[in-house]
Amino acid sequence: MTNTQILLSIAIMAVCTLLTRIFPFLILPDHKKTPVLVQYLGTVLPFAIIGMLVVYCFKNVSLLQYPFGIPELTGFLFVVLVHRWKHHLLLSIGGGTLLYMTVIRFIL
């Protein structure tokens, strides 16, 4: 690709990315009353989507091959338990990450 083509490609990607983000705001502008179904979806979707994003993070884990997802499970349990116990953002996330990094170094 030439430099012009590269910049043009980046511009296309920027516009298309923005399109996906702006879409709900275009079809449901402020001056229109938001339909009840959409209001309801707006409140329940965050719960369902966070579940999906967590699954997304573990999408490449194989339970059938060594190390059988043990590092991921260890990290997951640490973050859940420590966060329920202390509710300390950095402790849960920093600790969980360090633990995960340690486990993959010992187990692989």
Binding site: M1, I6, L8, S9, I10, I12, M13, A14, C16, T17, L18, L19, T20, R21, I22, F23, P24, F25, L28, D30, T34, V38, Q39, Y40, L41, G42, T43, V44, L45, P46, F47, A48, I49, I50, G51, M52, L53, V54, V55, Y56, C57, K59, N60, P71, E72, G75, F76, V80, H83, R84, L89, L90, S92, I93, G94, G96, T97, M101, I104, R105
Partner: protein, 244 residues
């Protein structure tokens, strides 16, 4: 008179600073995650022979983690605008649903609203859903600073990776677990806020089923469609006891 003057002045400027102070701790996990992923992106981009400054340009204007990684492949191929459009729309299709939860939150944001929409990444969306603005801070500025700080981290990471990536000799394998941990923490906090766990369990189960059927590369869009349909079909089951 003096009392009134003293009260209006700090009230006008203080909530902004308070908002930044309150937003910063919320954004810390994203800082770790975005700087690390941004560095990885910068290294890959320059590793393919592209100029370093393309990394911050893409971080500023595209600002979509997974899309930028796909972009490296697209830029390395023959110029094909049609393919770029299709790929970008598909990779980012999940963003179509994020705005639905932000319609009310962004309504009163005025001049900040376009930026809030532009910068709605997975991580920013999750933070905006769960972060609670403190009373002394202006809530619109609080949300704005969360979004803006996140992009600062991402662009910083892109630059670090593109400029200094080859000088990094630490083995940082696995540090991207920070992002996973952030999503887990948000999930735990949502879990504690409500007694109706059906929505999150639905999200997990549907995603796992679709992951098994479609594989790791293609499961997000079918998952979102099924989640959307199931939530729409049984509102009375999901709505009860949820307060946000």
């Amino acid at each position: 008179m003096t009392v009134a003057a003293e009260q209006t002045n700090p009230l006008k400027s203080k909530p902004k600073i308070e908002a930044l102070k309150a937003a910063f701790p919320y954004s810390l996990p994203v800082m770790v995650g975005y700087v690390v992923l941004g560095i990885a992106f910068g290294i890959i981009l320059t590793g393919k022979g592209f100029s370093w400054w393309l990394a911050p340009v893409m971080g500023l204007f595209i600002y979509a983690g997974s899309m930028q990684f796909v972009a490296v492949d697209l830029l390395s191929a023959v110029f094909n605008p049609f393919q770029i459009v299709i790929m970008t729309l598909t990779v980012n299709a999940r963003h179509l649903f994020y705005g639905i939860s932000m319609l009310n939150k962004f309504r009163s944001m005025g001049k900040k609203k376009p930026y809030m929409i532009f910068s709605l990444t997975d991580e920013t969306y999750s933070l905006l859903c769960s972060a609670v603005p403190p009373q002394q801070a202006d809530e619109n500025w609080f949300y704005f600073f969360i979004s803006a700080l996140n992009q600062v981290y991402w662009v910083t990471g892109c630059i670090l990776g593109a400029v200094g990536g080859s000088f990094l000799h630490y083995d940082t394998t696995g540090i991207d677990f920070a992002m996973t941990a952030l999503f887990i923490v948000i999930m735990v906090e949502q879990w504690e806020k409500t007694s109706n766990h059906l929505p999150v369990m639905t999200g997990i189960v549907i995603s796992v089923v679709n992951l098994l059927i479609f594989g790791p590369k293609n499961f997000i869009i079918p998952s979102m469609i099924v989640i959307f349909l199931i939530l729409s079909l049984f509102p009375e089951k999901f709505r009860s006891r949820i307060s946000t």
